[in-house]
């Protein structure tokens, strides 16, 4: 049976991707250097984890979906996912590989479990994934990716509680997958930031650090913060933090944080956290022989 090795929560921003490209070419700008260095250990962890599949819960920014049909939850089921052209041409990275067999398996479990997924056989992925992936892995990309896209552009947004439920169901689905595979679950969303209006550029480092500090053992405390309160304290786009709950809920209660980092390069709080599941034997006892 497949097992979940661990999970990662990480911010994304278009500038993070541009800073990477420029940094690899000319060296990193001083404000981005810490992020590059802070993510290096995560890259090492992911390499050691040797995942067979990577599930990524992210959000699109009107780069693939449009308002004519904007899904609350979408899942990409394909053997390949293009990079979205956000209007400046795609960056020099290959398509993401996918595994449609795994995708259909998870899709069936989710839909039959009451998640009303929009199922996408064609999906172009924007900076929601492409901005940070090059920090965490070299090409060719190390494993097939199963992208799950969450609406964060138009209210009503799915609630934090709903995303927690999604993570729970996702974890169960993945662990029911027959092949002996190692799965990593990644959630991505900017931490505090707001990119429009008079509060443009607001940055609440306290909120971000509070979130990172409690995600492992006191997620309930974070879940109790209304999404609107996240937006009030951290900017409208801080609502994306609720995506991280889907990753946390896919993991067991006995995960251990093995890495945490936060910095504020410019507009968006850039944080990353890595949780590792205890070895399977321990885990089987800890979660009651699941």
């Amino acid at each position: 049976m497949a097992e979940i090795i661990g999970g990662i929560g990480i911010s994304h921003t278009p500038s993070m991707g541009m800073a990477f490209d420029a940094g690899m070419r000319d060296g990193f700008a001083p404000e981005w250097q810490p992020w590059y260095e802070g993510t290096r250990a995560v890259k090492g962890w992911l390499a050691d984890a040797r995942p067979d599949q990577i599930v990524v819960i992210y959000n699109d920014h009107l780069n693939h979906f449009e308002f004519d049909a904007y899904p609350t939850l979408a899942i990409g089921v394909s053997n390949s996912f293009r990079q979205a052209d956000e209007g400046w041409g795609p960056r020099a990275f290959p398509d993401l590989p996918g595994d449609s067999d795994f995708g259909w398996f998870v899709t069936e479990r989710l839909v039959h479990g009451g998640f009303d997924m929009t199922v996408c056989q064609d999906l172009a992925v924007d900076h929601g994934i492409y901005s940070w992936l090059p920090y965490l892995a070299d090409t060719p990309w190390p494993a097939p990716i199963l992208p799950i896209a969450v609406n964060m552009v138009r209210h009503p947004l799915p609630t934090s509680q709903r995303l927690w439920q999604l993570g729970n169901a996702l974890g169960e689905a993945v662990r029911a997958y027959e092949p002996d595979q190692r799965i990593v679950v990644i959630a991505t969303g900017g931490m505090s930031h707001q990119i429009s209006g008079g509060r443009f550029g607001m940055a609440n480092e306290g909120l971000d650090r509070f979130f990172l500090a409690h995600l492992q053992d006191d997620a309930a405390r974070l879940l109790a913060i209304p999404q609107r309160e996240l937006m009030r304290l951290g900017g409208t786009e801080a609502a994306e933090l609720s995506i991280w709950f889907a990753m946390r809920a896919a993991l067991s209660s006995t995960v251990r944080e093995v890495h945490r980092f936060h910095t504020f390069p410019k507009i968006t709080g850039c944080g990353v956290i890595v949780f590792e599941e205890p070895p399977v034997v321990t885990d089987a006892i800890a979660v009651g022989g699941r």
């Binding site: 009107l62 449009e66 008079g198 306290g206 609107r228």
Partner: protein, 123 residues
Amino acid sequence: MRDPSFDMEEPGTFIFDGPRSTAGMRLNRFALSLKQPSNRATFLADPDAFMNRWDLTERERSLVEARDWTGLLAAGGHLQAILKLAATLGLNLYHIGAHNCGVDAHQMMHACPRRVVSDMPHG
């Protein structure tokens, strides 16, 4: 430029909800079409003709012509869509934010991150 506050009112904060999405339908279709390089070229060559194609109202057109980024957001433009328009015109996110805050883009860039401290426990 006022420090960011902890409220959710305009013009500090625009919430993109359903009714706003209905109001901004034409604007957003127009702006998102600019993801395609060919549309960017067509728009730049003849903005009026291109905007006609997307059925923009008189008022929406004048907001575009005036580069009134704040007005475009208030009229239902989504930041992510309006950003495509800005990029087509050689501008970026900071130009929009600067206009929203009544400063210039250079000032805006240097003001970020605009740190706020809330009563959020620091864990």
